[in-house]
Amino acid sequence: MNANNEVLLRVEDLKMHFPIYRGVFQRQVGAVRAVDGVTFDVYRGETLGLVGESGCGKSTTGRTILQLYKPTAGNVYFEGKNLVKLKGEEMRQMRRKMQMIFQDPYASLNPRMTVGQLVGEPLMVHNVASGAEIAERVAHLLELVNLNPAFASRYPHEFSGGQRQRIGVARALALNPSFIICDEPISALDVSIQAQVVNLLEDLQEQFNLTYLFIAHDLSMVRHISKRVAVMYLGVFVELADRDELYANPLHPYTQALLSAVPIPDPIADAKRKRTILEGDVPSPANPPSGCRFRTRCPIAQPQCAESRPEFREIQPGHFVACHLVN
């Protein structure tokens, strides 16, 4: 993996609030604070893992970075350009370099288009190829993801989940992007198929020096694929560190609880572990707790946690954490 420190993507205090409207006049009565101020860098050639439970805002973070939602506040710099300020043709040009792979390979491919059309569509939309050139590129892309180029004339329903996800990967690769957001790309797949797709993503990363933001809830898989890992809870980052550091030395109580909840496929190792079982559910992001977002479920919460929001600060070089009680 590329170890240089060139920042490819810088996210600064990004916020995405979805308004809630009520009543006859549809007045705004509040907002779902899906993403509420996240700041981080992604380095060229690395995989940054983003984990958290459902509803914590990890997918929204990914989509807001790509400007699929218009952010409420904050900046996103990609190769030095602020995407939030870009418009029209300039933004369109940038989109070529940033792609996304979606969670559900059944819902993200148009059932009325052939595989060839699906994979060739980005080429057509961005006018980078035409006619026979497209067919050639499509065949090459299908080979890259280990699919038979002869499949180009078939429809998505003729493929299994794992094969469909490969089609999604080929489509994302069509424009030679440098950055791909993988939004739970393997959650919908069977265990034996997950490994196939993960290995493919790793091979492609090496071949094209791709940078991934890998969003998932499976902590074992994130540990496997990522160089650094960020943990999200209710719209904010609570911890970010190098993979080995985070898994060996988690500092935030939420990270600790999350890690202890992951089952290990080994009965002896599993029985030896100390488990922290969190009480209750994740609060609503429309009405998050004051101060630290995690305090309502935190096993070590103190009165100060309700008063002020903990800063996301660098405790050790490269290890960020947002908790009042960590020194």
Binding site: D190, V191, V262, P265, P267, D270, I277, V282
Partner: protein
């Protein structure tokens, strides 16, 4: 040695579809001991859910049909019972919880009404008794302020709480067997840990046997005493939990364990991936169903389907190859 309470022999289930008959379960035999937790592991379409639904007579006919086998429970064959007879067993002595707690609950009835129904039906309680017992059950599964929450509707509960309600409902008549079909798959890991903890505690308190169906080998490791691995409608390996994880013997089990990244792994290695896809069985196979994906496959594997044979005490495997040496099993 505890008594066997459920003994399934030679179970076969087929589904008629416009494209042909699908052989979903192809001669599955297993038993369940009193108070034991049995893990049933396999990928989607391997027949693990269909096996349990067949045992409880819950396969919709048509298109499905149980064509062979027996399932002895308390001296009687569940598969030979009439609809009325098996309805007395279902929910009372054997109960089942499903993967998606939202679609298993009726959205237009209150939680209380749904919890009271089996109590009045199976145990003949009055409305008042049932309502009191329902509140007890809800607090047993860890839902605070139970009496008030009985009046709520399913949408007012979170995913984890709905699954707790399903568990409360399943336990309402003190069943001897609880069948849990991927009950935590739709839930987050922290909620999954809560539910697993709850089932472990209730199992001890109530002394029931549990069959836990899942595709997650991690979940089974922490919960089950004995594990069955299924593939293509067959049981391909069966062992005590410690033995299975220390000594996986069938190529499919080895592959599954190898394809999982582990949280406690020492160093990063490439994941082992099983190439190809699970089969769709339009015919009852006369070869090993795993042969097309198996790196050990030899001539015999393509001609005869291996039966489950013991390889160690309480450890049975259906494979012609000794995966330790790569040579045919003698």
């Amino acid at each position: 040695m505890p008594d066997t309470i459920l003994d399934v022999q030679g179970l076969e289930t087929v589904f008629k579809t416009p494209d042909g008959t699908i052989h979903a379960v192809n001669g599955v035999s297993f038993n369940l001991k009193e108070g034991e937790t049995l893990g049933v592991v396999g990928e989607s379409g391997c027949g693990k859910s269909v096996t349990m639904l067949s045992v409880l007579g819950l396969i919709p006919n048509p298109p499905g049909k149980v064509i062979a086998g027996s399932a002895k429970f308390a001296g009687r064959d569940l598969l030979k019972m009439s609809n009325d007879e098996i309805r007395q067993v279902r929910g009372a002595q054997i109960s089942m919880i499903f993967q998606d707690p939202m679609t298993s609950l009726n959205p237009v009835l209150t939680i209380g009404r749904q919890l009271e129904e089996p109590l009045m039906l199976h145990l003949g309680m009055s409305k008042k008794q049932a309502s009191e017992r329902a509140a007890e059950l809800l607090s047993m599964v860890g839902i605070p302020n139970a009496k008030e929450r009985l009046k709520d509707y399913p949408h007012q509960y979170s995913g984890g709480m709905r699954q707790r309600v399903m568990i409360a409902m399943a336990l309402s008549c003190s069943p001897q067997i609880l069948i849990a079909d991927e009950p935590t798959t739709a839930l987050d890991v922290t909620i999954q840990a809560q539910i697993m903890d709850l089932v472990k505690r209730l199992r001890q308190e109530l002394g029931m046997a549990v069959i836990w169906i899942t595709h997650d080998l991690g979940v089974v490791a922490g919960l089950a005493q004995r594990v069955i691995v299924m593939y293509g409608g067959f049981i391909i390996e069966e062992a005590q939990v410690h033995e299975l994880y220390a000594n996986p013997t069938h190529p499919y089990t080895i592959g599954l364990l190898g394809s999982l990244p582990r949280l406690d792994a020492k160093e990063r290695t490439r994941l082992y991936s099983i190439e190809g896809l699970p089969p769709v069985l339009y015919q009852k196979p006369n070869a090993c169903p795993f042969a097309p994906r198996c790196k050990w496959a030899m001539e015999r594997c393509w001609k005869e389907n291996p039966a489950l044979e013991p390889v160690a005490p309480e450890h049975r495997v259906a494979c012609w190859v000794d995966t330790k040496t790569g040579r045919p099993r003698s």
